[in-house]
């Protein structure tokens, strides 16, 4: 796993603008049902250290579209807010 240890700004995935990239640092979904979703997100490829890019977000606080590991995922906004990434400078 290649993780940059430089503590750069850790932001929620939703803070990234269209076209920006980030590296997943953690997923904070809480316990119980939440941990199932954490597992699900990881099964879809969102593991710590992986690079994701935000393609677009649906209007009125709708879901966001991201690309990860060559696949295209739609994530509900509430879910995306709990995924934290290190923002990459372009």
């Amino acid at each position: 796993m290649e993780r940059k240890n430089t503590k750069k700004s850790e932001v929620a995935l939703t803070a990234l603008k269209k076209g920006e990239n980030g590296t997943v640092s953690s997923i904070k979904t809480g316990h119980g049902q939440g941990s199932i979703f954490e597992k699900r997100l990881m099964d879809m490829g969102l593991t710590p250290g992986i690079q994701v890019s935000v393609v677009k977000s649906a209007p009125f606080h709708g879901p966001i579209e991201i690309r990860v590991r060559g696949s295209r995922l739609a994530l509900g906004r509430g879910m995306a807010e709990r995924i934290f990434v290190e923002k990459e400078k372009k």
């Binding site: 979703f37 879901p63 696949s71 295209r72 739609a74």
Partner: protein, 643 residues
């Protein structure tokens, strides 16, 4: 000599698994449910090289954990039934994510062959895969296929048979980091003497991941292993700063990524592909919604136009049989029961299924297989969140406008049982084609289209209000949208037709007996003269509270069979279809409103019982009747003030 083989198809959703399944099994297939589960089970047989091969199409899943019923069912199937061969269908254009699943299959130590599907689409995206190196890296035979054109399927089958005949060859395994491997070793050693359905290494990995299902199973066999596994998992978590399950998933994905990178060459095309452009257009914040509105309008208007025409044609045709029946069974009680009870029930069913349900399913599967449904879910996600559901729930709701029965069955796409129930509940409030007949045929025709639209709007408001309420009342957390949007592609028509056929068969199986029996019972009640007293008994509700003619009590009972029957019956019992002569405008609105909301029809109730059990179905039914009567009475009083 007859030799039997069992082959399972496994892989991610939307990778062309069902196309391969259809190609292999043709018409020799059977679709049912896994015992006691609402998960679809597709089986088929084929003859090949002297073998009789049973093929089972496992549900499309992304992992073999216990996130969903589908995953659990698949895992258990492979571990317990031990198929002779698992054909893992892999989408070549999303290799890394697909291999993550492949690696988990390999951990189950099942004999397998990989169908590297959609290589043509991968090429279009500039992905070139070296088959030989992929085979070498995985230690599993790989056959490239383009399922929708039938390319490579025969070779795939030959390879599968050849691999079975060669006998069990051990394929590779993911090697995790040193610390993880060490803990796996400890657990495997501990489980050496435990007779368990899963391979020891697999069980060890899953225990470290904290898999509750495996924990339950092991608890029964050898409970002392669990605390040990928890302790070891804790050590890994401490070392890595992430939960043990996160560490293992990450490392497994790293391995998948490594293999993918080793076997594929990326030459991204300079110009965006057509699929890419279409994706951007259909998910754009303006054009996406315009396109959605346009598609829905087109779909519904064409289905209604087609359905209306065909339905009329069919009923004229079938009602033409009436004199024939009269001549055979007479016009006495027997004749009335046979024609009015049984035959009219059948006609009711037929005139819904052929004209409305079939085209509806064809279009639905076309949209699903091409990829558009997931875009609709993406666009509608935040609207659906207002009632505590996510974007995928829009799809059954949309179906509900056609018919509530397939719509409620469609709620199986939701991930949790709670969401399935909530979505189904909301869906039963959606005005279906039959309800539309009442709305347009009564209010629309006699009061004007603006009143009909107002009723639709009112219905939507109610759906939102009730949906929000139910979402708060039903215990559990709301879930979020996590959905793949695969590349657009031209769907495989034969697969669509087959899926449609199985759905229609399912509908017939559930709905027809109910409609026919219901129709018979009502006719019997009519013949025996129970209906008039019944109308009298109901009159405190219909006459006093709702301000309707007493006769509507009877027609609303008939509406349980099929909602538009309540209007047809009203015409018959009042002796005219010019309702303006016999009903006031307020009565028309109240009647329509009650008919719209009061009960899911008998077939819908049947589906609810099948998926959610008696208690919940009864609750929904009673709730909706009470609610409809309540709303109807209030609206009656309010409208009387103004009109």
């Amino acid at each position: 000599m007859k030799k039997k083989l069992l082959i399972a198809l496994a892989g991610n959703a939307n990778v062309g698994k069902s196309v391969i399944f259809n190609y292999l099994t043709g018409l020799h297939q059977h679709i049912g449910n896994w015992p006691g589960k609402t998960v679809e089970r597709a089986e088929g047989t084929l003859q090949f090289k002297g073998y009789t091969i049973d093929i089972i199409d496992l549900p499309g899943i992304y992992s073999l954990s216990t996130y969903s019923l589908e995953e659990l069912v698949s895992r258990k199937y492979i571990a317990v039934e031990r198929p002779d061969m698992v054909i893992n269908v892999v989408d070549a254009s999303v290799l890394e994510r697909n291999l993550f699943f492949t690696l988990q299959l390999m951990e189950l130590e099942t004999p397998m062959v990989i169908a590297l599907n959609q290589i043509d689409m991968a090429k279009g995206k500039g992905i070139q895969i070296d088959i030989d190196s992929l085979e070498q890296l995985l230690g599993v035979p790989v056959i490239p296929t383009v399922a929708i054109k039938g390319v490579g399927i025969d070779k795939l089958l030959e390879k599968a048979i050849e691999t079975i005949e060669k006998g069990p060859a051990k394929h590779g395994q993911v090697m995790y980091g040193e610390e993880v491997e060490e803990k796996i070793g400890v657990l495997v050693e501990k489980m050496k003497n435990v007779q368990f359905m899963y391979p020891p290494r697999y069980a060890a990995i899953k225990l470290l991941e904290g898999d509750e299902d495996i924990e339950r199973e092991i608890e029964r066999l050898s409970p002392e292993i669990i605390p040990l596994a928890k302790k070891l998992a804790g050590e890994i978590a401490k070392l890595h700063g992430h939960g043990c399950s996160t560490v293992i998933t990450s490392e497994r994905y790293e391995a998948a990524g490594c293999i993918a990178r080793g076997a594929q060459k990326l030459v991204p095309p300079i110009k965006p592909t057509l699929a890419e452009k279409l994706h951007n257009f259909t998910t754009h914040k303006i054009t996406g919604y315009l396109m959605l509105a346009f598609s829905l309008l087109l779909i519904f208007s064409s289905i209604f136009a087609f359905g209306d025409f065909t339905s009329g044609l069919l009923s004229t045709l079938l009602y033409g049989l009436e004199p024939f029946f009269a001549s055979v069974f007479g016009t006495g009680i027997v004749g009335t029961l046979v024609w009015g009870g049984v035959m009219e029930g059948i006609i009711a069913g037929v005139t819904i299924v052929l004209p409305y349900i079939i085209p509806f399913y064809i279009i639905l599967y076309f949209l699903e297989n091409s990829g558009y449904l997931s875009r609709i879910a993406f666009l509608m996600d935040n609207v659906m969140h207002k009632i505590g559901l996510h974007g995928k729930a829009f799809i059954p709701m949309m179906l509900g406008f056609g018919c509530n029965v397939p719509a409620c069955l469609g709620c199986r796409i939701m991930e949790t049982q709670r969401e399935r129930l909530l979505a189904a509940f909301v869906t039963t409030l959606v005005p279906c084609a039959a309800t539309t007949v009442i709305i347009l045929g009564l209010v629309g025709k006699f009061l004007g289209i603006q009143w009909a639209l107002a009723l639709y709007l009112f219905n939507l408001l109610i759906i939102f209000a009730i949906g929000r309420l139910a979402f708060r009342v039903v215990p559990g957390e709301s879930t979020a949208l996590i959905m793949e949007m695969h590349d657009y592609r031209w769907p495989h028509m034969k697969t669509i037709l087959k899926q449609t056929w199985f759905r229609v068969a399912e509908f017939i199986k559930i709905a027809f007996p109910l409609i026919i029996v219901g129709s018979f019972v009502l006719k019997l009640a009519e013949v025996s003269g129970v209906l008039d007293p019944l109308a009298g008994v109901l009159s405190p509700v219909t006459v006093v509270w709702l301000g309707l003619p007493a006769i509507t009590g009877i027609t609303l009972i008939f509406g349980v069979l099929r909602k538009e029957l309540s209007l047809v019956m009203l015409g018959a019992l009042l002796g005219t279809t010019n309702f303006a002569l016999v009903l006031t405008p307020v009565q028309m609105i109240v009647f329509t409103l009650v008919a719209m909301l009061y009960i899911p029809c008998i077939a819908t109730i049947g589906v609810l019982i099948k998926d959610f059990g008696w208690k919940k179905s009864l609750f929904i039914t009673v709730f909706e009747i009470t609610f409809a009567v309540l709303v109807g009475g209030i609206v009656f009083r309010l409208l009387t003030l103004f009109m």
